[in-house]
């Protein structure tokens, strides 16, 4: 039961080979583009690696880079094969190469599609990684004297200014953390002592935010401290004030940024996937059409080309059989011993 049989007269074969050659070079460029897009995404993720708790999301750019490099090789061979396809004398030397070639190419093409799906599916993982990373960043904001954490303040300040955001979920996260180091608190002052005593953990909490939360678009000078105290500032109502500090949380801002980036890249990679798929399909048709010509006297006869010789299920079993046999071979030996052991008791 052949899948997608098509007739190929000589002229159509020639045209197919020529078109395929052009298409495979386009696909090579597309493969290089995929690799570049993967590098770009990885660079962007690495730039903010300090606020990410784990590196699970890096599987997306890594896959893109691998697929990009693989498709360079795949398309290089595709162009070489279709160059030889029109010469009936040179085509047979590719015969043994083509079966594993198609297996590998299909695997990498499916991997390309998987990477796009992953970029959408890993949104949750990215969000939780950012949540934990930002929480740590805010907690260690004051530890500018602790080695390993001394750049957290700089990173968080820069992040809040670049992405126009404040805190993890929103600016209130700063109220729950002591972000002013004890080194800069005057413990002889009564106010400081009272505040520290009133807290269960002995932390100095304020209803204030760092200066990097300030919004430059505000018409009035920035109010960072005593944010919830309306009487501390003239003509100020914190419930209605929207322009003073950034209201968006940094987690939301970063997720939005990265999802936007991955959506754009995903759209590009999808079109490259379609291109690569069409290259493989055309190559398969060319291969089957040329195989029918092999050995014939007249190389200009009309032949039939098809996608799969047997049905889809049969073809998959055909490819998987060697793989399964490799694993079953170990079990196959044990099965035979078991049979031999069983047989003698069965006889009497």
């Amino acid at each position: 039961m052949v899948v997608m049989k098509m007739k190929f007269p000589f002229q159509k074969r020639v045209k197919l080979a020529q078109g395929l050659w052009l298409l495979s070079w386009c696909a090579t460029v597309a493969g290089a583009t995929t690799f570049t897009l993967g590098c770009l995404l990885k660079t962007e993720l690495l730039r903010r690696a300090e606020v990410m708790d784990n590196a699970d999301i890096h599987i997306v750019p890594n896959t893109l880079m691998i697929v990009g490099l693989a498709s360079l090789g795949i398309n290089y061979f595709a162009s070489k094969i279709c160059q030889d396809a029109l010469d009936a004398g040179r085509f047979p030397r590719w015969k043994n190469f083509l079966k594993p070639y198609f297996a590998v190419s299909c695997f990498f093409t499916v991997l390309m599609l998987l990477s796009v799906i992953m970029s959408y599916a890993m949104k949750g993982s990215l969000e939780s990684s950012l949540k934990a990373g930002l929480r740590n960043g805010i907690r260690f904001y004051k530890d500018t004297d602790t080695p390993g954490r001394c750049f957290q303040k700089q990173n968080i300040d820069r992040l809040q200014m670049d992405f126009e955001c404040c805190g993890n979920n929103d600016f209130r996260d700063w109220f729950e953390v002591q972000w002013i180091s004890n080194r800069y608190l005057d413990f002889s002052s009564k106010e400081v002592k009272d505040r520290v005593k009133s807290n269960v953990d002995g932390r100095y909490l304020v209803d204030g935010v760092p200066f990097s939360c300030c919004n430059p678009r505000s018409p009035r000078p920035c109010m960072q401290y005593q944010l919830t105290n309306n009487s501390a500032h003239y003509n100020y109502d914190y419930l209605t004030e929207e322009l003073n500090i950034y209201l968006r949380g940094c987690r939301e801002a970063l997720v939005h940024y990265y999802m936007g980036l991955m959506n754009t890249i995903g759209a590009g990679v999808l079109s490259i996937f379609i291109l690569q798929g069409s290259v493989l399909v055309s190559l398969r048709f060319l291969q089957t059409a040329m195989e029918a010509v092999a050995g014939k006297e007249n190389t200009e006869i009309e032949t039939e080309g098809y996608l799969l010789e047997k049905g889809v299920k049969d073809t998959i079993m055909e490819y998987l059989d060697p793989v399964l046999k490799f694993f079953l071979l170990k079990n196959g030996g044990k099965v035979e011993e078991g049979d031999a052991a069983e047989k003698p008791p069965a006889v009497p």
């Binding site: 002013i180 080194r183 800069y184 200066f211 300030c214 430059p216 505000s218």
Partner: protein, 366 residues
Amino acid sequence: MAVLKVKFTKTKRDKLAQVLWILNWISVVTGAVLFILGLFLKVEINKRVELMAERDIQYVPNMLIAVGLIACAINFLGGKICYDCVDTTKFLRWKLIMLPYIVCTFFFTFCVLVGALMCYSMRGELEESLTLGLTQAMRFYKDTDIPGRCFLKRTVDLLQIQFQCCGNSGYKDWFQIQWISNRYLDMSQQQVVDRLRSNVEGKYLMDGVPFSCCNINSPRPCIQQQVTNNSAHFHYEHQTEELNLWMKGCRQALLEYYTNIMQSIGLTVLITWLFELSVLTGVRYLQTSLENVLRQGDPDSESDGWLLENSFMETARINLNIIKSLGKNNHIHTAKNGDPNIDIPSTSKAHYGPDNVPPKTIKEAS
């Protein structure tokens, strides 16, 4: 006595034409690069036009854009000419145009040089423009409710954040202007009223700076208010504290930024000028050698190429005479009563037909 005479065989001429064709196309690309650099500089200046007072600095990018476009056009024409010069017959098409083309290109290269020098000379005007512009911008920082000035606060804040600078020459500039609008001052408070009264002009001045002056590299939370008051903050000494606020002035920061851009652009323009000059020299040699070939008659023979036919002084004298005689053509020739057709003796022998007999003079009809 020709200047820098070089002998050109036919193959050498052809090679010169081909090389010049390629070089002309490279020059078209460099002309496009100049155009793009001019556009880039224009965009960069316009991005911060609110911080610059009215000064003539737009002429530099405009000149670069014009020079870039003209370079593209001239070198495109030059490429076409050199492409045709390989074939002596096609050269005849361009023969009359080539000398004016070379003269025009020679003057154009001067424009390119002037463009390069202007890039370096712009610095003084830019500094003046920035000083005045920044002073104005800081003065209107608080006027976020006046149309036309309402975005200056945002512009100055973003500038200080991006260029990591504070104030005009330093952060102390903010102490001398009122940057907090009266709309946000509680006039019922005694402290505010006292401060206003203590100032001659009734301005609310304080030793504080806006949040955009805060240095992100500081290990401690930013101290913006009471910057010069050591006792107001724990463990703080404002004379030795360097990491709290940005120490650089915005005028210096912007000047450095623009000077860097213009130095790179100036260098590119100088290199382009040298390149154009060398291409022009090649075209001149090609023109003179082809003209000499045509004069000799044999298109495959060797010919001389030179920069100037006579020495430099001779050429200058001849050109000056041409210019003088151009002026003299307008004068009346008084020796012949102004009529140039009277009494000019014929110097050549007249030929009166096959038997060479002069015609009888015909009596005039009365």
